[in-house]
Each structure stands twice: as structure tokens, then as C-alpha cells.
């Protein structure tokens, strides 16, 4: 429990049984009234935005949210199966709500799970990741209208727009937030 007046941006709160992150916090003193805290919160499971107002001496439940490093084993279409390589504990992370991350999940790579008590609620993807090009058409000569680029596929099924000189079997660095090609990786 925490007094609402002590809530800071970035804290995790348990509201109506759901973990929420504090996105915005504003203090308000109505004329001739006690102090209030206006919050904008983000549900950590659904991403939905919630607005709540508390009196600063109300007690609010905090959500115990922490990070845990795991290895991604495989996905079965419904869950990402992961394992903590120190304790060998396994976690099934439901893919619902995390579909956009599936193309960035590489078997055997290490990811950070966001845990709420014993339940995984999110997976953090590194900002930049290296992928192997598994399907690439030969560059078409004279095709300079689109800035001489083409679409290739990498081992996770992700499609990336790359310069025409990229060949099958080569490694590329991809920005996982935008899905954009960054550079060719020579190893």
C-alpha cells in the first residue's frame, strides 16, 4: 500500500485487480478542499489507458512488477515458451496482445520478461537485433524508383525492406521498434 500523495510516475499500481503503470501524475487542490492526485495509468496487460483521481491520503495498492531474464525456447502459436536459465523454471507467456512481438522472437535468444508476482505480463525486445536473411530475390537492375530497395524475409518470418545488394544468407541489423533495416552485419 502507498499513500496516493506519494505516487510517482513510472510506479506500478494494482487497480481493480489489474497491474497499471503510472504514465502521468498531477496534483490538484480544489478551492476550499483537500489535496487530490489525478493519474493517467496504462494497464500492463491490455495497454488500455485509465484515468483515476485519489485524495492524497487515500491508500492505493502497489503491484509487484519486476524483470526476469529468460531464454526463448519456442512458440506453439498460443504461448511463448521460455526458461529461466539459472533456476530452469519454465514460463508460458500468452501471445494474446503480444502478437506484434512474435516476429522478433528468436529461439535460443535471451529476453527480459516483465513479471507481475508469478505471472509474465510482457516481453521486452532489444531495440536492435541481428537476423539472417532466409529469402531474398536478386536485385532487379534499373529499379531505382523506390530508392533501390527490395523486401526480404528473415528466419522468424519477419519481412524487411533492405537495399538491393543484400543477399540470402547474409546478416542484417533491424530496429525492432520501427521494423526498419539498419545495416548489413559482417561476421
Amino acid at each position: 500500500m502507498i499513500r496516493a500523495g506519494g505516487i510517482e510516475k513510472g510506479m506500478c499500481l494494482l487497480i481493480k485487480g489489474e497491474p497499471h503503470a503510472v504514465a502521468e501524475r498531477e496534483f490538484v487542490n480544489p478551492g476550499k478542499g483537500s489535496a487530490f492526485v489525478r493519474l493517467k495509468l496504462k494497464n500492463l496487460r491490455t495497454g488500455l489507458v485509465l484515468r483515476e483521481t485519489y485524495k492524497s491520503n487515500d491508500n492505493v495498492e502497489t503491484a509487484d512488477v519486476f524483470d526476469r531474464d529468460v531464454q526463448f525456447l519456442y512458440s506453439d502459436g498460443e504461448n511463448f515458451h521460455c526458461m529461466d536459465m539459472e533456476s530452469y523454471e519454465q514460463f508460458d507467456v500468452p501471445m494474446a496482445g503480444l502478437e506484434d512481438k512474435a516476429n522478433y522472437m528468436k529461439e535460443g535468444d535471451t529476453y527480459t520478461l516483465v513479471m507481475w508476482e508469478t505471472t509474465p505480463i510482457d516481453i521486452k525486445i532489444p531495440l536492435k537485433m541481428v537476423f539472417v536473411v532466409t529469402e531474398a530475390a536478386e536485385g532487379v537492375k534499373g529499379d531505382t524508383v523506390q530508392g533501390a530497395s527490395k523486401i526480404v524475409k528473415v528466419e522468424t518470418g519477419l519481412e524487411v525492406k533492405v537495399p538491393i545488394f543484400i543477399k540470402e544468407g547474409e546478416k542484417i541489423l533491424v530496429n525492432t521498434e520501427s521494423g526498419d533495416y539498419v545495416e548489413r552485419v559482417n561476421t
Binding site: 476550499k32 478542499g33 483537500s34 489535496a35 483521481t53 485524495k55
Partner: protein, 363 residues
């Protein structure tokens, strides 16, 4: 390296603002008064925390003293003794509030009391004050260097004063007349709840809970109302035009007289951008009502961090000799923010608390 915290143009604008406020009230026959910042006792207000200090009296016990959260405690004594209409621009002190864009623990208040007047007369006076200030200060503001370069071609060609607000939309919007709405109508419009029907704590708590708001069991009517107001009404009325919210519910204890409908009091607040700029009462003149307010608020202050003395004889200043009058308290720093188009109080006050605390060793 020392970085200057002083905005000289703002210091000058504040000086002009204070000069013009004085000119306005003096021209209308108000007496300017200069009352103490230190008081041995205060009017109890449950939601306020104050600053305490003490008078060291050599060879005698020390005397606790308190920094005034408002000059009201002195002004009502002056009015009771026949001062007539008065005004004061003074520093006030409020403890325990979060320092932020609209709050500094020490701030400047303009307080004016008009005798033989009610809260509606005070609207007219406040509108006239705004008209005067905009007329007098717009050329100055238009010529101010500032973010976004307010010194425009238009302003240098110097048309008559009022026309200068053209191109300075933040000033144009402050021009009277102000929109007036009752608290009841505003709450009804933005929440669907009719305060006429929700006069007891239990029914208000139930109704507010049904809207999905967090409400504690056993809390006061005023607390539940304020939750509703802060969560649903204040954000909805956050327009950049002045709005006068009138007739506050009697469930909020204040020293304003009862309205024709006893469920409401003769009080208004002036809001701009969803921020409270001024508070006004048709003053309570009944000694018994004041004594009741003192008893109730003293009880509610039991848990205050900084307890303060209350003068048990204070309500005796009210009674047949106390004039029918209306008082307005207006935040001068917030008014200066509005005039200058600034969104943080630290930009309009010299040596604001957040600034002096972060550069000192007293963090």
C-alpha cells in the same frame, strides 16, 4: 557557473500589474491596508496546513506565531470596526501543498472587500478590474520579448490599446464579460448527477461510486464532491476563457452566507484553463454561523501536521455591526501567468521555491 534566474521583463510586468491593481481600487475609493504576515491565531480551515514559528520573549515564555494563509483573519476585524471597502496585496503562506506549476508555498494574494455589496456585485467589480488591467498592460505585454517573440509588426504600429489584444489571443480571451454557470448546472452537464437530489453523504457516495470513481466509506460530503469535481468537472471546464462557477453546495463548509436555496451558498470561483484564479463570498455576517464554522473546522483540524491557535472570541466580531459585504481573494501570480502567457509559476515569481531549493544545500 551561476545562471541568472531573473527574467527582468517579468519583474517589470509584475511591478506594473501591482501598480495598476492599486490604481483601480484607489480610484474606486477602496482603502489600501497593510496587515501583519504573522498572527497569534488563525481562522481554522481543515484543508490548509500552515507555517509555524515563535516569538522569543526574553525571560518569558515564547509565543507561538503563524504565517497567514490569507489576510482574511485581519480584514474581517477591520470590516467589523467600520473600515469600509478595503484591499490588500500581500504575501500568503501555505504549507503541505505540492510545489508545482500553480503552487508556490509563498505567494501573492490580492484580497478586496466591498461593503454594501454581495457576491454578484463582486463579479461586476472583478470584470471591471480585468478590463482595466488589460487596457493598461496589453501594450507592455505586446512589447515583451519572450518565447515565440511577442514583439510583432502589428504591436509596433501601435493602434489604440484594446486593439493590441488582436494577435495576442491569450489576452483577448480574458476580456469580460465572463461566462457564468452554477455549480449544479456544471455538475449536471458533465456528470449527469443532480446535486439538488444528492444532499446527504450516503446518496452522493453511492452516485459517485456508480460513475466508477474511488470513494472511501464514511468520508465527508465535501470530500466526495471534490473527487467528482476534480475527476469529471474541472477537466471539462478547462477552457482558456474565464468561467465563473457560482452557488457552491452548502456541503462545503465556508464563511459565505446561505443562498435563497439553503442547499447552496453565495460563493463563486473564477476558473481559467481549469485553474482556480479567484474565490468570492457574500460574507457570512451571523455570529452563530461563524461560531459553528469555527467549532466544526477546529474539530476537523485535529489531525493537522501544524496545529495552530484559534481565537475563541473571533466570532464575536460578527453580528449586527458587521457590514453586509463581499470579499474576493485572487492569486496574483496566477493572474500574471495568464497575462504573460506562461504555464509555470516559477517563470513569473522571483526566486520561486523549487528553484531556490534545488540550488541550495537544503534539499
Amino acid at each position: 557557473m551561476l545562471v541568472s534566474m531573473i527574467n527582468h521583463a517579468m519583474v517589470r510586468l509584475r511591478s506594473l500589474l501591482v501598480r495598476e491593481i492599486r490604481a483601480f481600487f484607489q480610484a474606486r475609493g477602496y482603502l489600501e491596508v497593510d496587515t501583519p504576515k504573522l498572527a497569534p491565531s488563525l481562522i481554522p480551515e481543515a484543508h490548509l496546513e500552515v507555517f509555524a514559528t515563535e516569538l522569543i520573549n526574553p525571560d518569558h515564555p515564547c509565543v507561538p506565531l503563524f504565517l497567514i494563509p490569507s489576510p482574511e483573519v485581519w480584514h474581517k476585524r477591520l470590516l467589523a470596526e467600520g473600515s469600509g471597502s478595503i484591499f490588500e496585496i500581500t504575501h500568503c503562506f501555505r504549507n503541505g501543498e505540492q510545489i508545482g506549476p500553480y503552487h508556490n508555498p509563498e505567494f501573492t494574494m490580492l484580497e478586496y472587500y466591498t461593503v454594501d455589496a454581495d457576491h454578484l456585485d463582486s463579479i461586476t467589480i472583478t470584470e471591471a478590474l480585468f478590463t482595466h488591467l488589460l487596457d493598461a498592460l496589453t501594450p507592455e505585454i505586446a512589447a515583451m520579448p519572450g518565447p515565440g517573440g511577442r514583439r510583432s509588426e502589428q504591436s509596433r504600429n501601435a493602434p489604440p490599446a484594446r486593439d493590441l489584444t488582436v494577435g495576442h489571443r491569450h489576452l483577448e480571451r480574458l476580456l469580460p464579460p465572463f461566462t457564468r454557470t452554477s455549480v449544479r448546472d456544471s455538475v449536471l452537464e458533465h456528470t449527469g448527477l443532480d446535486l439538488d437530489l444528492l444532499t446527504d453523504s450516503e446518496s452522493l457516495r453511492t452516485a459517485v461510486r456508480q460513475l466508477g470513481l474511488h470513494v472511501e466509506d464514511e468520508e465527508s460530503w465535501a470530500d466526495t464532491f471534490n473527487r467528482l469535481f476534480v475527476d469529471r468537472v474541472e477537466p471539462a471546464i478547462a477552457t482558456d476563457r474565464p468561467l465563473i462557477l457560482t452557488d457552491y453546495p452548502s456541503g462545503i463548509p465556508v464563511l459565505a452566507s446561505e443562498g435563497n436555496d439553503p442547499r447552496y451558498r453565495n460563493r463563486w470561483e473564477l476558473y481559467v484553463n481549469g485553474v482556480e484564479l479567484a474565490n468570492c463570498y457574500a460574507e457570512e455576517t451571523d455570529a452563530n454561523a461563524v461560531a459553528h464554522f469555527f467549532a466544526e473546522q477546529t474539530a476537523a483540524k485535529r489531525d493537522a501536521r501544524v496545529p495552530h491557535a484559534v481565537d475563541p472570541d473571533y466570532p464575536h466580531h460578527f453580528g449586527p455591526s458587521f457590514p453586509r459585504c463581499s470579499g474576493v481573494a485572487l492569486g496574483v501570480d496566477r493572474l500574471l501567468m495568464l497575462l504573460a502567457g506562461e504555464i509555470n509559476m516559477s517563470r513569473v515569481i522571483l526566486f520561486g521555491m523549487s528553484g531556490i531549493l534545488s540550488v541550495s544545500n537544503y534539499r
